[in-house]
């Protein structure tokens, strides 16, 4: 039974994603109406620049008064696609205050101050959906909030930034250095003019905070996420990874530690070729989940782009609209477990440690003894002479970061060690 009174939709932001959402709301109007049970009516689009040409969208819809649009009491659904903390937060809170349900793709805001938004939505009895905030069109928020809600998730990790995945991919295939590949990625439009948020890992860290919150029913904020970008990844690292049967990926990793705290970080990580995440190339994203009963699941697809992100936004919009039509609401924030964050030194992982040593008898034995003294057992060792020096690479079994760091400090002070020591995490058991 399709009723004819439309649900009113306001759109905040009309960039790559917003303009695609606006076009799809018009093009797919009949399908959306049938799926919701009532038509949607786009009543306004808030933009900064009213003069910009936006073909295919009725110019009468545009307004520069974002707060006025978000606060309209007759609007049922508000889509926020501005990004950033302000004015997005103020506008979302205004929309919630006026009784609208909100769909957003704003990972930065949710990772920084999600609880303020969630609490306001709960108090007002409206929905907040944000599937598009993590991994574009790949359904991951809904599977964690709903499909796996009867299970115990023990780890969520993934490749959630396409720009860095593209760059690391090229470094592997071309053997080229980071700066060279970054310049090419910028030329091809895979990296932005200011690539900081991507290459320093901040974008992935915001997504990790959201994933960890959902997976472990806790509040994890951006500041809780240990964050390391890919700017320090060298050609030597890539070569070492190849030798160890791995590729280097920028992994967002959220894992339940043995003491019940949450280890959450973004790091360049060696991933063994046999691991499903190793094969995720180019601008693709993938999320890997381990849970007590479901076992190991993986979801992959395009992690960014106007159309994929618009697909995720519209999926949320239809869900929120159906709730208006059929009554009821989507799931609220779930933080009952109140888990803390694992201290940096207590993060358990495998690690790869590389250093250049003077090629003298007994150096390897000393290095091995140093690791052993700190309780770190070794899974693989590679030593290769280069004239009077040798490259020494060591892959550990599972160890605490503190143990490995202490061993490195000691090694660093040894006269036999010629250069600074590099450290990288290794995924997989």
């Amino acid at each position: 039974m399709v009723k004819s009174t439309p649900l009113k939709v306001a759109l905040l932001g009309c960039g790559v994603v917003g303009s695609q959402v606006a076009r799809l709301l018009i093009e797919q109007a009949e399908d959306l109406r049938a799926r919701i049970g009532r038509p949607l009516e786009l009543v306004g689009i808030a933009v900064r620049d009213l003069e910009l040409e936006r073909p295919g969208i009725d110019p009468a819809l545009f307004t520069s008064d974002a707060l006025g649009l978000a606060s309209r009491s007759d609007v049922d659904l508000v889509i926020e696609l501005l990004g950033g903390i302000e004015p997005a937060r103020t506008l979302i809170l205004a929309a919630i205050g006026a009784g609208a349900s909100v769909v957003t793709a704003n990972k930065a805001l949710l990772a920084e101050d999600g609880p303020t938004i969630y609490s306001a939505a709960e108090a007002a009895g409206v929905d907040i959906y944000y599937e598009a905030a993590v991994a574009g069109a790949i359904p991951i928020v809904r599977p964690l909030r709903e499909s796996l809600v009867g299970d115990e998730v023990t780890a969520v990790m993934g490749i959630v930034n396409g720009t860095t995945n593209f760059i690391l991919d090229k470094m592997h295939t071309d053997g080229a250095d980071f700066e060279v590949v970054l310049a090419e990625a910028q030329r091809l439009g895979y990296a932005e003019a200011d690539p900081t948020a991507d290459v320093q890992g901040y974008d992935a860290a915001a997504k990790a905070a959201i994933l960890a919150s959902l997976a472990f029913h806790s509040r994890v904020k951006l500041a809780d996420v240990a964050c390391e970008g890919i700017t320090g990844v060298t050609g030597d690292d890539i070569a070492a990874a190849k030798e160890m049967g791995c590729v280097i990926k920028l992994l967002a990793r959220c894992v339940l530690s043995p003491d019940g705290t949450i280890a959450v970080g973004v790091h360049p990580t060696m991933v063994p070729l046999a691991h499903p995440l190793a094969a995720i190339g180019g601008a693709f994203n993938a999320i890997f989940i381990e849970s007590r009963n479901a076992g190991r699941l993986m979801f992959m697809g395009p992690g960014a782009g106007g159309s994929p992100t618009a697909s995720a936004v519209l999926g949320d919009l239809v869900t929120a609209a159906r709730n208006r039509v059929r009554g009821g609401r989507g799931p609220a924030e779930s933080t009952y477990s109140g888990r803390g964050i694992t201290a940096a030194g207590d993060v358990s992982s495998r690690y790869y440690v590389a250093m250049t040593v003077h090629d003298e008898p007994g150096v390897l034995a000393q290095a091995a003894a140093t690791f052993a003294r700190h309780g770190v057992s070794l899974q693989a060792v590679r030593q290769e002479s280069e004239g009077e020096q040798a490259r020494l690479g060591v892959m550990t079994h599972l160890a605490l970061h503190r143990q490995v760091a202490e061993a490195i400090d000691e090694l660093d002070a040894m006269p036999e060690v010629a250069t600074g020591i590099s450290l990288m995490r290794v995924e997989g058991a």
Copy 2:
């Protein structure tokens, strides 16, 4: 805010999945209570054999009166894990009639007579959830019903039967014949004593009907699914696939045809090694989705087994329970598009055609001319002499099944063709 009045749960069936669900309801009671906002209370388990030992479950819960349990007016949620058409249908309808929401893993019933169940649930204002009916713990029903509901899905295809995937895998790696590998799979517990439903493709066909219904907002029933099992796959087929850079997978394939009808079938299919589905090995399942805006997505994980299936059942149970607590309901059946089924002859695919011919001049030219006459263009041809005969293998570009079948009929009548002609679908563009 957690209220203390429990929601009452009745469980129908206590086999591998049911006993795991019962145990998890007890073990995870505190987590489930926190996630739902009210505790769950398991009030009864209907079983056929009351005498059977079921360790870890309170014997007082068991009853042989399934209808009495399903019809209890104080029960909020009924989990149906009996499988098969009857008595499952009668019990589910009784539960709905008594006002309970229903969670089921019953693919056979939903593929055969889902609309009767969905209509009853809609009329009674209760939920029907069935994530566990397709691909075990892999979230796929919810992504199709909710995440992608704002998009236009154009194809859903997947490996949805672990037994046949295990058998085909072994045939590839060992070069062994179907019967030999089947016997081994039965010995290892990967195939049942009566493997008919798996190896004939009926299990996959039921899942294909459910996936097609969801993806295309139509009613697709088991009888609509063209179904071909793997019993006819030979060592020659495997060798031909390898030569073409493919592996053979039993694919459930639901595709929107150019005329707007739905092509839905289960067939042994050559999948190019570069396709993400080619790498899915052993008892794993994977579903590949193509949609207009989201692009290409893939979901993979364990497709069967007690714990993974129990995870999917509990995810649905928590969602249905939350709806009771927060008000509202999940999405209903969506059939507004009313699409028909593509006629067998109109199914568009790539095909691989193999035959043995007398090794005489001009045979290849005649075969090629026959395909051309029926509008079938060829992408690759392999011919290999074997004494006085030659093996001829032909991979077509996209063609209609009717065109290829007509060409085969004509070739079959040619004196130069020595043996029966084999035909297999090929996935990918």
